[in-house]
């Protein structure tokens, strides 16, 4: 069970170059909630996730983690978050197992799943000692998703997690969203594909009007 957390996002606006990507983006998130960020191409969905993760700074608006400005609680936020972006952050020159072991070791807490179990669960059994360079795009995506099984973090921030997955993989991930929610975790994700989830999904549509 994850402990209580709150993430509040107020009136966020982001300008890239000369263009306003989005404004007045606002939501509140606590345990057991799923937030689906929607918007057409180029409306800044990925940028919004990157703002949440503190990678880029918003031009306006505030973020609060545990009721405190996120600038002060950034480290605590990072300990409670897994972010998977378009670039997966898996090293081609390391094996599947080494990649996962490294990220797991960087976390102070991990879930009670062994690395080989996690690899089997994402359908990569037998690939433990393979170089990631030899895997397909979908398999690389699965390696990064295996991190979700290993690392204990209540908030998942996932950028297009269903891309490059086959139908079975997609339904497995949707089921796993549910399992994460039952443990008290929350998910913020973007997806262009319609996603069938058993639970309530909040929607946030962004884009400059």
């Amino acid at each position: 069970m994850y402990s209580e957390f709150t993430l509040k996002c107020d009136n966020l606006a982001l300008i890239r170059g000369e263009r306003l990507l989005f404004k007045q983006a606002a939501f509140e998130l606590t345990n057991r909630q799923v937030l689906h960020i929607q918007g057409a191409n180029g409306t800044g969905k990925t940028s919004l996730l990157r703002v949440l993760c503190g990678i880029i700074e918003a031009d306006e608006g505030e973020l609060h983690w545990q009721q405190q400005p996120i600038e002060q609680t950034r480290q605590d936020f990072y300990l409670n978050t897994i972010y998977l972006g378009h670039q997966l952050g898996v090293k081609k020159a390391m094996t599947v197992e080494e990649n996962l072991a490294f990220y797991q070791a960087m976390r102070p807490q991990s879930l009670s799943v062994s690395i080989s179990e996690a690899i089997a669960q994402v359908g990569l059994a037998g690939f433990e000692q393979q170089w990631v360079a030899n895997l397909s795009q979908g398999q690389k995506r699965r390696v990064s998703l295996a991190r979700l099984l290993l690392e204990s973090a209540p908030l998942w921030i996932l950028d297009e997690p269903f891309v490059a997955l086959d139908v079975k993989g997609q339904s497995w991930l949707a089921q796993h969203f549910e399992a994460h929610r039952e443990r008290g975790g929350s998910i913020i994700f973007t997806s262009h594909q319609p996603v069938e989830l058993a639970c309530d999904v909040q929607k946030l549509v962004i884009g400059a009007q």
Binding site: G89, K91, M94, F102, A105, M106
Partner: protein
């Protein structure tokens, strides 16, 4: 945390043998050009040797920096590392330590061989190694600042050189003066202490500067 990061860097470096050998070959090839291009005479070469060796080590190290940052930036690992709770300064420090151990140290080990070719007086050999041991950490760490600033740029290579080389100059001057002094039989201890001081200062300050630069680069 730092231990984990260093282990990761070393593992990745050891798997890229070609990139690891490049600076060594560069060092070997460029230093061999000097006797051929200038004069094979022992008298001429021995006065040039300290400068030639130092400049070649410096340029070889500059070549070795890209490997440590570029791929991590491109495949998103840098973002993951920054979000893993490790401080940015630690990430840079781990990279610099791996850089020194696997790029600078092999160059230092190779330098006695090349110093013989350049007729460096054998009394100055100890001074050469001491000066490189004390000076190369500064080069690695200043390089880390430059690399952190330019890793987000498409063709950051030239900019890296423009940024970092001016900062390398004081170290180069101290290093070559030290070896020259030793080859003329003077005491080189004060210069060595200055180099060590520069090293200590850069170990304690550069990771913070480079870490801040890394965050800026990732945000683009």
């Amino acid at each position: 945390m730092l231990g984990l990061l260093i282990k990761r860097e070393i593992r990745l470096l050891l798997r890229r043998k070609a990139e690891l050998l490049n600076p060594l070959f560069f060092f070997l090839v460029v230093t061999t050009m000097f006797p051929l291009g200038i004069s094979p005479e022992a008298k001429v070469l021995s006065t040039l040797a300290p400068g030639v060796l130092w400049v070649c080590v410096l340029l070889s190290l500059l070549l070795s920096l890209d490997v440590l940052y570029r791929e991590d930036f491109d495949d998103g690992s840098l973002v993951q590392l920054l979000m893993s709770g490790a401080s940015a300064a630690n990430i840079v420090l781990a990279k610099s330590i791996a850089n020194w151990l696997f790029c600078a140290l092999p160059l230092i080990v190779m330098s006695p061989l090349l110093s013989v070719m350049l007729h460096l007086p054998s009394d100055a050999l100890g001074a050469l190694i001491a000066s490189l041991l004390a000076g190369t950490p500064v080069l690695c760490l200043l390089g880390a600042i430059g690399m952190s600033l330019t890793v987000g740029l498409r063709r950051g290579g030239i900019l890296l050189v423009l940024l970092v080389l001016p900062l390398y100059i004081p170290v180069l001057i101290l290093g070559t003066m030290l070896v020259s002094a030793a080859s003329m039989g003077h005491s080189y201890l004060p210069l060595l202490l200055l180099l060590i001081a520069a090293s200590v200062m850069s170990v304690s300050l550069a990771p913070w500067a480079a870490g801040a630069a890394l965050k800026v680069s990732v945000s683009e």
